[in-house]
């Protein structure tokens, strides 16, 4: 059964990636999931870092949730779009591989949507991906408060790349690992690198990792595939009954 979800990189060239409404939806959902994985204290406005913030789509979600944030991106063009969109966070033009320029203990958490894999490409002869990854992770580590998390949504090219990323993060002092949502669906599968700074935590469970059929109370039973499509297509109205039921289900499956 074909779902109309496609991999983001196949729908549009990279420079218009964030402008199509479908892409906006996917990015927002990934931001929502990333913030969920951050496991921030309930009802508290936090100070967060958004790495590879681009045009500010993920940042908008952070603001929606009542958080304050600083975004870093290497693209002037994307940051200009963020300015035109009047995002609430402060923006910095910077290269994550050169290190995060913040005092220690600045941020309560860090998210990054579809940015980390860029560090694995050696764009210049002098660039060494492992060194840049380490520089990024070690400076990020110190910029986070004790007990804070850093969550990265990424599209890994292969297992070697995942290995490299995870090993450099561990070298920098982080603990944690990969959370994979919907591992059995090539279209819906999402990778989140979930890192803990200064404490060992229990890695959250990926979504859709227990059964492929998801029972949703008070609704007609859909097949697992169509159920995922329903979830991807549109969120339930926030704070509505369905949303609360789905959220409770999600948390229960995650063991929280």
């Amino acid at each position: 059964m074909a779902s109309s979800c496609r991999r983001p990189e196949h729908t549009a060239p990279p420079d218009v990636v964030s402008l199509s409404s479908r892409m906006i939806e996917i990015q927002t959902q990934m931001s929502e999931r990333a913030v969920e994985l951050l496991n921030l204290p309930e009802g508290q406005p936090c100070f967060l870092l958004d790495v590879g913030c681009g045009s500010g789509l993920s940042g908008d979600y952070l603001s929606e949730e009542g958080h304050y944030w600083v975004g870093v991106d290497i693209s002037n063009a994307m940051l200009d779009v963020a300015l035109d969109r009047e995002v609430e966070g402060d923006l910095l033009l910077g290269d994550m591989g050169q290190g995060m320029p913040f005092r220690s203990g600045t941020f309560d958490g860090c998210i990054s949507i579809s940015a980390l894999q860029w560090l694995c490409n050696a764009d210049k002869k002098s660039h060494s991906p492992p060194k840049r990854l380490f520089t990024f992770f070690s400076t990020l580590y110190s910029s986070l408060t004790r007990g804070a998390r850093a969550v990265f949504q990424l599209y890994p090219e292969n297992s070697e790349q995942l290995e490299l990323i995870t090993s450099q993060a561990m070298k920098a002092g982080f603990s944690g690992g990969m959370v994979v949502d919907y591992p059995n669906s090539s279209k819906a599968k999402k990778f989140f690198l979930c890192l803990f700074a200064g404490v060992t935590g229990v890695l959250p469970k990926g979504l859709g990792s227990e059964t492929s059929d998801r029972a949703v109370p008070n609704q007609v039973q859909y097949s697992g595939q169509r159920c995922r499509f329903k979830n991807m297509k549109g969120k339930s109205v926030k704070k509505g009954r369905d949303w609360i039921i789905e959220k409770k289900e999600r948390r229960r499956r995650q063991g929280r």
Partner: protein, 123 residues
């Protein structure tokens, strides 16, 4: 760039040991209206380098009556929290530059965005 961000920013140039606080040389400053959230301000205060904040506020000519030292029991002092809120989140540097106190290296600010990109030899 807001002063909350500035208070956390350091120079990350290779070899620099004391790249904080960055001196602000502003040519254009704006004041916005931002919703006051006392809980957030209260939580941020312990993270701040207070003297750097006061120095930055003075550099921008926006110090007003911000005290040179943190007041005790600030969590319940709404008047004080409002002053901190204003200086942290409402005053924004749009144009100018940030200067490293150790090396003198300047990071330009354009449209409110500091350019922290380093040259090959600085990384």
């Amino acid at each position: 760039m807001k002063l909350l961000t500035h208070n956390m920013l350091t120079s990350h140039v290779k070899g620099v040991t004391k790249g904080y606080p960055l001196l602000i040389k502003a040519t254009e400053v704006k004041v916005n209206e931002v919703e006051f959230n006392p809980q957030f301000v209260s939580r941020m205060i312990p993270k701040l380098e207070w003297s750097a904040l006061v120095q930055a506020a003075e550099e921008l000519g926006h110090r007003q009556d911000l005290p040179g030292e943190l007041v005790a029991d600030y969590e319940t002092n709404e008047e004080f929290l409002k002053k901190v809120h204003r200086i942290l989140l409402e005053v924004e540097v749009l144009e100018g530059c940030l200067q490293c106190p150790e090396s003198g290296r300047e990071f330009p600010i354009s449209r409110g965005i500091p350019n922290m990109l380093l040259n090959e030899d600085e990384a």
